[in-house]
């Protein structure tokens, strides 16, 4: 039974990102993995090896799509050609939901390839929610919107980030991909309590959780996805699933990628917290 209305796929378990250095291992060894998350844009191509690999993966595994360029927070409408490509991929993967970020990233056809923070205003929330609805209606699968890590805040903001995320999710009636590492990174960069964030998002909308590693610098923290998950993030994860219930969880490891087994074992550490949650429920 789902823990909430947006995570009907609770039994998806613990997944990892599908990354090029692991292709050979996965295709040859066929390890047991609950599911893979793919970066949609890596497979929105016309042909060739990427799609061949994807089809082989789809024969063996469940795949969920995660996007990095929908830019729900952009001022302009989504590009129709882009949406068509995305929908074609959705049909190919049969992804049960897809996610992308609560951010902006391109202006007048120029792309930053970054996940840029938005000013947290009511006007921006409204425009963003409309865009999420438009995308969801076009691709015909549920959409989860992900909170990004950030290094800057705007004077124009009228609310906290978690209030903004909640506002957008309510207006769009969409799910949330709660990235607990991003919350931690932003909390350190902006000086808020990450548990205020966790406690105040609409838990009944959380359909997926991301965990990842980050890098500490002298004056700020960068969301680098090149380390194991740090203890404070695991602690937040335990708290998040207590609030949201058992939720499909994914480890992101995108740079200095170690062996498949190392990445997978790191992800599976999440099971400890899931078991603790289930044990606590049974005891109660």
């Amino acid at each position: 039974m789902p823990a909430n209305a947006f995570n009907n796929y609770t039994d998806y378990g613990i997944g990892i990102g599908l990354r090029v250095p692991h292709y050979r291992h996965i295709l040859e060894k066929k390890p047991v993995v609950d599911w893979f998350e793919i970066i949609s844009e890596n497979f929105m191509c016309d042909g060739g090896r990427p799609l061949e690999v994807l089809d082989q993966i789809l024969e063996q595994y469940r795949v969920v799509q995660h996007g990095v360029s929908m830019y729900f927070g952009n001022a302009d409408k989504p590009d129709r050609e882009h949406l068509k490509r995305l929908k074609a991929l959705v049909k190919r993967t049969q992804t049960p939901w897809l996610s992308d970020h609560l951010c902006w990233g391109s202006v007048d056809g120029r792309y930053t390839h970054d996940l840029l923070p938005m000013p947290y205003t009511f006007a921006a929330a409204k425009v963003t929610a409309e865009k999420i609805r438009l995308v969801r209606d076009f691709v015909e699968v549920p959409v989860c919107v992900e909170n990004v890590s950030s290094y800057a805040e705007f004077h124009a903001s009228e609310m906290t980030e978690w209030e903004f995320l909640s506002e957008v999710a309510e207006l769009a009636d969409c799910g949330i991909l709660l990235d607990v590492n991003n919350i931690y990174v932003s909390s350190k960069n902006h000086g808020f309590d990450p548990y205020d964030y966790l406690n105040n998002v609409p838990h009944h909308r959380v359909g997926q959780i991301h965990i990842a590693g980050h890098s500490k610098f002298k004056k700020y923290i960068l969301d680098t996805h090149d380390h194991p998950v740090l203890d404070p993030v695991w602690k937040m994860y335990a708290h998040a699933i207590k609030l949201c219930g058992k939720t499909a969880t994914l480890l992101e490891w995108d740079d200095r990628i170690p062996s498949f087994d190392e990445v997978h074992n790191e992800a599976l550490k999440a099971n400890k917290f899931v078991h603790e949650l289930e044990t606590a429920k049974v005891s109660a």
């Binding site: 191509c45 090896r49 882009h82 390839h113 000086g191 700020y220």
Partner: protein, 287 residues
């Protein structure tokens, strides 16, 4: 904010201190970005400015190893910054970052002088590899389809992933030599403890001028380069331009000294080979 992100970094990889209108950048950033107890508004914006440039330069660096070898590291970096400042990414995917490099190099050869022609050939060759890697593959025309149609009326298309290049330098061989060198370097560095001297590898000589014709394509989802005879290149180029097969072949051999049977046998051999590689598809309908 986006205008600030796209602006080139300083020589020290920092954000420029002045805005385009001459105002202090610290004042401009402070207008819309909050400072915190550790970072000024300028410094917070600078994180994004640096991330943007580091990301696209990294990508460009990975896509053009041959061009890097032709120009050397410092010159390549200058070219990359100039190109990406003039032609920032216009696509959702970084795969297309080099899509306008040929145009940039043709319009301004100063970034690559005195090796401009070689650099242009290499840039075209490396872009062709990107196209071949994940470009579209349409249903191929079969040999039977060819046999059923009279050459005088037959028009064919070429696979979108196939690029035909007429080059002034054998950059295909040079590219292979660079890859071999880099592979050896990787092996040598892994074995550094055992044989430190093995890490000293030969510099790959730049190619000498030589006219070559190369097809860059994909077969069974593996990337290949194939040398073509001048006549073969001419036939394929004409076919891509919409000429009938007969016209393409006649033009290619118009000044040949070969006998008609020799030419016929040669053409048959080529077409069998190209068909087996799946290069032919139905031609695009003309508007």
């Amino acid at each position: 904010m986006s205008s600030a992100l796209f602006r080139p970094l300083t020589a020290g990889s920092g954000m420029q201190k002045r805005w385009m209108d001459g105002r202090k950048m610290s004042e401009v950033a402070a207008q819309f970005i909050k400072p915190n107890d550790r970072l000024t508004s300028f410094e917070r914006l600078e994180i994004y400015n640096r991330q943007y440039w580091f990301r696209i330069l990294d990508c460009f660096y990975d896509d053009y190893p041959g061009l890097r070898a032709v120009l050397g590291g410092r010159k390549f970096e200058k070219l990359a910054k100039a190109y990406l400042a003039q032609f920032p990414s216009a696509s959702f995917t970084l795969r297309n970052l080099g899509g306008r490099l040929e145009k940039f190099l043709r319009e301004d050869s100063s970034w690559t002088a005195p090796r401009s022609e070689l650099a242009l050939d290499m840039a075209r060759f490396e872009w062709a590899q990107i196209v071949a890697f994940d470009g579209a593959a349409l249903p191929p025309v079969t040999p039977d389809d060819l046999l059923d149609s009279p050459p005088g009326k037959l028009r064919l298309g070429l696979q979108p992933h196939l690029t035909l290049l007429a080059l002034d330098f054998p950059v295909d061989d040079f590219s292979i030599a660079i890859k071999k060198r880099d592979a050896l370097r990787a092996e040598a560095s892994n074995a550094m403890d055992a044989a430190p001297k093995a890490a000293r590898l030969k510099k790959v000589s730049l190619p000498k001028r030589e006219k070559v014709f190369v097809a860059v394509h994909r077969c069974d989802n593996t990337l290949y380069y194939k040398r073509l005879a001048a006549e073969a290149f001419e036939i394929l180029t004409a076919i891509r331009a919409g000429k009938t097969v007969r016209r393409a072949c006649e033009n290619a051999f118009r000044s040949s000294r070969k006998t008609a049977p020799e030419i016929g046998a040669q053409i048959q051999d080529w077409f069998q080979n190209w068909s087996s590689l799946g290069w032919f598809c139905k031609p695009r309908k003309r508007p």
